[in-house]
Amino acid sequence: MPNETNGAAPGGAAAHNDGFAGLRLVPRSDTTYKMKDFKSDQEVRWCPGCGDYAILAAFQSFLPELGVPRENIAIVSGIGCSSRFPYYLTTYGMHSIHGRAPAVATGLAASRPDLSVWVITGDGDGLSIGGNHLIHALRRNVNINVLLFNNRIYGLTKGQYSPTSEPGMITKSSPMGSLDSPFNPVSLALGAEATFVARTVDSDRKHLQGVLRAAADHQGASFIEIYQNCPIFNDDAFEPLKDAGERDSRLLRMEHGAPLRIGADRGVVQGDYGELSVADVAEVGEDRLVRHDAHRADPGYAFALSRLDRPAFEHVPIGVFRDVDAPSYDERMAEQLAEAETTQGRGDLAGLLASGDTWTVR
């Protein structure tokens, strides 16, 4: 046998990461990186003002925190404006095909537990053509972090409605208004048994990086919806959440353990059927405010939170909806391989070939 195949990951150093929980099997880096270490030499080619720039910058400046060798980071994307992301980073990367990034990343992550794998996708890429791969990756708890850039439009193909576009939206393909009811990506992910679900906004670097940090710390699949502005085809889709005047009355910043508050005076209370709504704190009393708990085993509460934005972005929770522990796919798969080797011994090719009823001709 020319080579050893079992267990050892190709090119892989031994894992000894004592930082983020999601990186337990990824080696730690000796180098301390700077943001610039993650900037590639490729010219960034989004439209002026595109929200993708801010996300890229936030991501590049966050990566050093991972404490992982650059070569152990892999970024897999589909097709779309957002999916150009990998070219702009100095890590390993694959700009795959439309909608299939979660599938490609599943194979990579499942066979290489020593990598930190990130999936970059858009609302069309990830929820339209790629919806199925996404929900399956989530339920399997594959060790990937999915960043879904939601601009509520197809950018790259120049402006058709997407599965997150608002109903009635007039676009190139819906001159009389879209007939579709949109997905709520957070609700969908929770319905698909996701163990980590969060939402953040392109323009709030600090918040965005906080969510990235939490995702890296999560073992298994993390799903992050990022509201991203497309100034060309769907400008200001998230304006109410960014406008200084309106923002505070709409954004609900969830923090684990803290009561759910919106602005200075309002907060979230629970109704008879578990649904959450926004009330004046003065009226209902501080005590009735729901205290955010991202670690509940039951996803029902996170789901209820995800419905707060209906209708029309009235109140939009951002932060981590849900973050619960469960073994990741790569880990469980590796365990079975190890167990097979332990109980049956390491595979021996000659023995395998001769394992049936054999006879000998002399």
Partner: protein, 617 residues
């Protein structure tokens, strides 16, 4: 009573019964006995499409045909010498294939009014003389089995279910098969159910004794072992051989195997088999669909694994886009298509060779991919190893076209000496190959045109791949017109260049003066070979060659074709290889096609071949 033993050189037996009657198991056991006795053999299982169609109906009939001989044989045979029919449906569904004078053993217990009516028999064929042209043996298999098991503490139903072992015992006697294998098998299988085990052993023994004792069977037959080349043998199906070949490919290349697959008949068994061998470091991933299966395999390949995906026609078409990405990113990837009758859902349990042009051309853009096809169940092993070699050497997806007939059919396989298998060790690139320590992922090996394969985890070689046209050398996105033309031609040249290390086409032309060449590909090898033998036995002269490499073709193929006056190309499709040969070599090959879900019959092919020879003269 001592019975007469008659020497014969070969026999074709078909076991047929209801899906619930255990015919596949019976056939398998008889095959194992026959294999361990040392005959050459070839098998053809035939399942119903339904999981368990209603008992006693025609669609519910399951059969297993076995051809064994004291010499080397090539097919499971055209027409059975012995048909075992466990019920009227089995008789009706199979009797048309049985030649006059052959032996027909029927389980009379099942020939009840009700069962006869179910399949449209107006009267009982066992009694009404309609089977007069056959050597008919009426055996009340069920009741004899129940009788034999009277003393066991089992239900009547369980006793009846052992009737296949009774039949197996009878046939084993009749052909003097060694029985230890079956006895051992039953002991292992029912280790946890001692009463059932004992009952099955007893039923088997009772069947044997019945043959030995009763006057019904005056003769038993002996088929001497075949003079096979020395070595250790086992019987193997195509799907098992592919699975083993893939494991071997992984071991020989040093690349851990990652299978991404989605179940589909007749390919699922490869997934099942590989999932058993985790101790070889094999990861099997049952994906949500075929697209995810191949996508994950490609992702794993990016990570340095031997990425494999397995499927059949309807799943194959779904993989096209990802195969395109694999050929653009120039990563190794094995795509196994176990062909079945199409188009669309077609006939999932039937065989066909009709995915060839799809494998060649079924992708957008100019997207050349090597295509290989095994020619027999055992050859599936070698083809899987060869596919690994090509994928790993040339950094390309490779398509393997097996088929339903090869997948489930079996033949004896001489185990290769593992030490002599080719060394396929892959060395990943670990050092920069450009100026200033730059890494150029599309700077090619000047000989193979393969690009370097550097896997994540390798410091300094970080790079990005993708499906947009890439700049020669750097691999960056490029829309430059001349670069695109260059890359399109380079990708083609890389695949064409594989012909350099494909062996010349083996042509079997013993006399060297044949005018007619018969050229096939894939699973028809056995049928064509058998037809060729018939023709030669009848004094005809014909040459035979068989393609295992279809893209690229062996370098000398054109020359071989032009050497013969006439070239006959038999295919289980409407002439797909023929089109390629004509288009490529402008040779007026004669296409012979039959698309009925079954392998060719040697007799029929021999007739066609003879006609072509006659016309050529």
């Amino acid at each position: 009573m001592t019975k007469q033993v008659q020497q014969i050189d070969r026999v074709i037996i078909r076991f047929a019964g209801d899906s619930g009657d255990g015919m596949q198991l019976t056939g398998d056991r008889f095959t194992q006995e026959t294999a361990s006795f040392g005959n050459d053999l070839s098998t053809l299982p035939n399942f119903p499409a339904e999981i368990r169609a209603p008992a006693g109906t025609l669609p519910g009939v399951s059969s297993f045909q076995l051809h064994f001989a004291d010499h080397d044989i090539m097919t499971p045979g055209d027409a059975p010498n012995v048909l075992v029919a466990m019920n009227p449906a089995a008789l009706k569904a199979n009797i048309d294939d049985v030649p006059n004078g052959a032996m027909v053993i029927v389980n009379t217990d099942e020939f009840t009014k009700r069962n006869l009516t179910k399949v449209g028999y107006g009267s009982n064929p066992v009694e009404d003389g309609s089977l007069a042209e056959f050597k008919l043996s009426s055996v009340p298999l069920t009741s004899m089995t129940v009788k034999a098991l009277e003393d066991f503490e089992i239900s009547k139903k369980d006793a009846e279910r052992a009737k296949n072992m009774f039949a197996l015992g009878l046939l084993s006697w009749m052909y003097n098969r060694p029985t230890e294998g079956t006895l051992g098998f039953l002991k292992a299988k029912f280790a946890n159910k001692p009463v059932i085990m004992a009952a099955n052993l007893a039923a088997f023994q009772a069947g044997w004794n019945f043959g030995e004792t009763t006057e019904d069977f005056a003769v038993s037959y002996e088929v001497k072992p075949a003079p096979l080349p020395p070595g250790t043998y086992r019987n193997i199906t195509g799907n098992l051989a592919i699975s083993y070949g893939l494991i071997a490919g992984s071991q020989l290349s040093g690349l851990p195997l990652f299978l991404g697959s989605y179940p589909i008949t007749p390919a699922s068994d490869i997934l099942h088999e590989l999932s058993k061998h985790k101790r070889f470091g094999i990861r099997t991933f049952q994906a949500e669909d075929e697209i995810a299966g191949v996508g994950a395999a490609l992702g794993a390949a990016f990570g340095g694994a031997l990425g494999v995906t397995t499927t059949s026609g309807p799943g194959m078409v779904l993989k096209a886009e990802t195969i395109g990405l694999a050929l653009m990113t120039e990563l190794p990837l094995l795509v196994i298509d176990v062909q079945r009758a199409g188009p669309s859902t077609g006939m999932p349990t039937k065989t066909e060779q009709s995915d060839l042009l799809m494998a060649m051309f079924g992708r957008n853009g100019e997207s050349p991919v090597p295509v290989l096809a095994p020619r027999s169940p055992a050859d599936c092993f070698d083809i899987a190893v060869e596919a690994t070699r090509i994928a790993a050497t040339y950094r390309t997806p490779v398509i393997v076209l097996s088929d339903g007939y090869l997948a489930n059919g079996s033949e004896p396989w001489r185990l290769p000496d593992v030490e002599n298998l080719p060394d396929l060790t892959v060395e990943f690139t670990t050092e920069p190959n450009g100026d200033d320590g730059a890494f150029l992922p599309y700077q090619r090996d000047p000989e193979t045109l393969a690009r370097p394969w550097a896997v994540p985890g390798t410091p300094g070689l970080e790079h990005r791949l993708g499906g947009i046209e890439k700049s020669d050398g750097t691999g960056n996105i490029s829309y430059t017109p001349s670069n695109h033309d260059l890359m399109v031609r380079t990708r083609q040249a890389k695949i064409d260049g594989i012909a350099r290390d494909i062996p010349p086409l083996e042509v079997d032309d013993p006399s060297g003066d044949a005018d007619v060449l018969v050229l096939g590909w894939g699973g028809t090898y056995g049928s064509i070979g058998a037809a060729v033998r018939r023709v030669r036995r009848a004094g005809g002269t014909v040459a035979q060659a068989h393609l295992r490499h279809i893209n690229p073709f062996p370098a000398d193929l054109g020359e071989v074709l032009r050497r013969y006056d006439r070239v006959l190309v038999p295919e289980i499709n409407l002439g797909q290889l023929a089109l390629l040969l004509r288009g490529r070599f402008l040779v007026d090959v004669i296409s012979y096609t039959k698309v009925n879900g079954l392998p060719f019959k040697a007799e029929e092919l021999a007739g066609v071949l003879q006609e072509v020879i006659d016309r050529a003269e």
